[in-house]
């Protein structure tokens, strides 16, 4: 086998797989988004964007991402730093912390529903302690803040570990000598974190943040389980266009809008966390 050809031959199966199961369906969705009947149009986008639920679901999705991602980032950094310092039991702790990753998002939503619903753990605990006379309905339209907090908590619980895993790997790659040099030259532990860990972790932070932010825009099952229709989000709207309203064109248009938002945020993150020209990390 020609050595120059071999790499291309090896990557061919994956390329084919992606072309058939990703690029082709994607082209179909794009076509669907830009057509009504047989003619090319932007009408689907106009319809979707002018619907009264669009601004609310966009705002909710953004708010949720804005509330959840920073907390997850901070938590993941803290957890990764702790794991990195551990000598014994490091793997065990890491496994336990990543358990939520193995649970589907719908199941995660149902777990937290079992906590917050009217006959859930939280209510039985509070009435057991005598804090409430009768069960409180946390997840009702009268408590929008509570619904938001419950969804945010479930998301944080469910998806922090994906960042953790990436950051643990990244932190492990930073040579110990940099920390010792920083310590000798007078950096406090907090300064070492800010001036050594964070800058040297930039490539991992990029990956973790992009992954997490994009996934945050796709939040669906947890919201469906905990908020139902009380808290509309973009993915929920796509679902309802496709299956409740049987409007595949509108669903495709909205999906492309979400894709556009994801691309914009990806570019912003790449730009914000770029490594200075000439620096090698």
């Amino acid at each position: 086998m020609n050595a120059r050809l071999l790499p291309y031959v090896l990557i061919l199966p994956v390329t084919l797989f992606l072309a058939v199961f990703f690029l082709y369906p994607f082209a179909l969705v794009a076509k669907q988004a830009f057509t009504q009947g047989a003619e090319f149009t932007f009408a689907n986008f106009r319809d979707v964007a002018s619907h009264w639920k669009f601004p609310i679901s966009l705002k909710n999705t953004m708010l949720l991402a804005a509330a959840v991602v920073p907390v997850q980032l901070a938590l993941a950094l803290l957890m990764a730093t702790m794991v990195n310092r551990m000598k014994k039991g490091r793997d065990l702790v890491l496994y336990v912390w990543t358990i939520p990753l193995g649970i589907s998002d719908l199941a995660a939503g149902i777990i937290w529903l079992a906590i917050f619903e009217q006959s859930g753990f939280l209510n039985s605990m509070m009435s057991g302690l005598g804090l409430v006379d009768q069960p409180v309905n946390f997840l009702s339209y009268q408590n929008p803040m509570m619904v938001f907090v419950a969804i945010a908590l479930a998301e944080i619980w469910r998806a922090t570990a994906i960042m953790l895993v990436i950051l643990v790997a990244g932190i492990g790659l930073i040579p110990k000598e940099y920390y010792e040099a920083a310590e000798v030259f007078g950096a406090s532990p907090w300064q070492r974190f800010l001036r050594v860990t964070l800058p040297l972790l930039r490539p991992s932070l990029q990956t973790a943040l992009i992954l997490r932010v994009v996934l945050a825009f796709e939040v669906f099952a947890v919201v469906a389980a905990l908020g139902g229709t009380l808290f509309p989000v973009l993915m929920g709207e796509i679902y309802s266009y496709q299956f409740d309203l049987q409007n595949g064109n509108a669903a495709a248009a909205l999906a492309l809008i979400v894709l556009g938002i994801s691309i914009v945020f990806t570019l912003v993150i790449l730009r914000a966390l770029r490594v200075p020209k000439g620096a090698t990390i």
């Binding site: 000798v184 300064q191 050594v196 620096a279």
Partner: protein, 346 residues
């Protein structure tokens, strides 16, 4: 201005003892080299002085102040690391200024000191570069400049030249010695390279298995090794040893010859440096096995009563393997060691 005193410092890692009861005083502005093979504890001792490692027992004093409970930054030290540890995400300027920024010095003071030390290390052209754009030698210079910029009382160096190629190492050796002498700091320098130690040190502490075997000037360590380990470790080729049996009244039988020695009545080891031997009419009878012409000298590996024995002779001698040589040791250069304690006998 700082005298360093190490008092009864010991360090154990679990069941393993890295340092046994170390006592050492390093004078103000002295250049002290800790020399030893890998695993002898020299780096551990340096890290204890730096505060990167805690001694199991003992005290460290710098400039009359007990520092072993203080973090590294409060000890008045700066350090040069073996792998440089030049931060890859900072420019050369910010690397050199790192410690000054941590001390929150005003910008113009940081700039003044960075530029001065960069000039001293001849890297003022590189201040805007990142470490990835530098060669190993340049990175080494940044690491030294970063330490000098702190204007510390003490500079600690952990094998700073070991990652450089031979020619660059020789050049940096001389330059480092000059720069450090001008900076008036006390320096502790860890190395396994005896040439580095001999050429740079005011005093050398030879370490072996977690102990300081001898702390003396390079010439003293070379001429009067305190123990067989030092005699065998320093000098290339190392010192020769032959068993000696007492013949009474300061006479010793060595390799079939009778030689004057100390007044002792037990078996000793006779020792002589290969370059302190001359071809003569009377002396030790040796059979040449390997002859290596080294340009300036002739290194002859011989056999005396089955023991390995090396002689460095003038390069114009004609010696062939198999020749029988008569080697006369220079009397004032002969040393004696007690084989039981391995220590030198006066």
């Amino acid at each position: 201005m700082a005298v360093i005193e190490i008092k009864n410092v010991a360090k154990t890692f679990g069941a393993y003892t890295a340092l046994h009861d170390i006592n050492l005083t390093i004078q103000d502005q002295e250049f002290m080299v800790l020399l030893g093979a890998s695993g002898c504890g020299k780096t551990t001792l340096l890290r204890i002085i730096a505060g990167l490692e805690t001694a199991t027992t003992g005290e460290v004093w710098i400039g009359g102040r007990r520092v072993d409970h203080l973090p590294p930054k409060d000890r008045g030290i700066a350090m040069v690391f073996q792998n440089y540890a030049v931060f890859p995400h900072l420019t050369v300027f910010e690397n050199i200024g790192f410690g000054l920024r941590m001390q929150k010095l005003p910008n113009d003071e940081v700039k003044r000191r960075v530029e001065r030390t960069a000039g001293l290390m001849h890297i003022d052209q590189l201040l805007k570069r990142y470490s990835g754009e530098l060669s190993g030698g340049q990175r080494q210079r940044v690491a030294v400049a970063r330490a000098l910029a702190m204007e510390p009382d003490v500079i600690l160096m952990d094998e700073p030249l070991s990652n450089l190629d031979a020619l660059l190492r020789m050049e940096m050796r001389a330059e480092l010695k000059g720069v450090l002498a001008e900076s008036n700091t006390t320096a502790i320098y860890v190395t396994h390279d005896q040439v580095e130690a001999m050429s740079m040190a005011d005093r050398i502490s030879v370490m072996h298995k977690g102990e300081i075997v001898q702390a003396a000037t390079p010439l003293e360590v070379y001429r009067n090794p305190a123990a067989e380990f030092v005699a065998g470790f320093i000098g290339n080729p190392p010192m020769n040893f032959l068993p000696a049996t007492p013949k009474g009244a300061g006479k010793w039988a060595v390799g079939g010859q009778v030689i004057d020695g100390p007044q002792k009545n037990k078996a000793l080891n006779f020792a002589i440096r290969p370059e302190d031997l001359r071809l003569a009419d009377s002396g030790l009878t040796a059979r040449a096995k390997v002859v290596e012409p080294l340009g300036a000298h002739l290194l002859v590996t011989c056999d005396i009563d089955g023991a390995l024995f090396r002689a460095v002779l003038d390069s114009d001698m004609t010696v062939k393997p198999g020749d029988t040589l008569t080697l006369a040791p220079q009397p004032d250069r002969v040393r004696w060691f007690d084989p039981d304690t391995t220590r030198a006998v006066a």
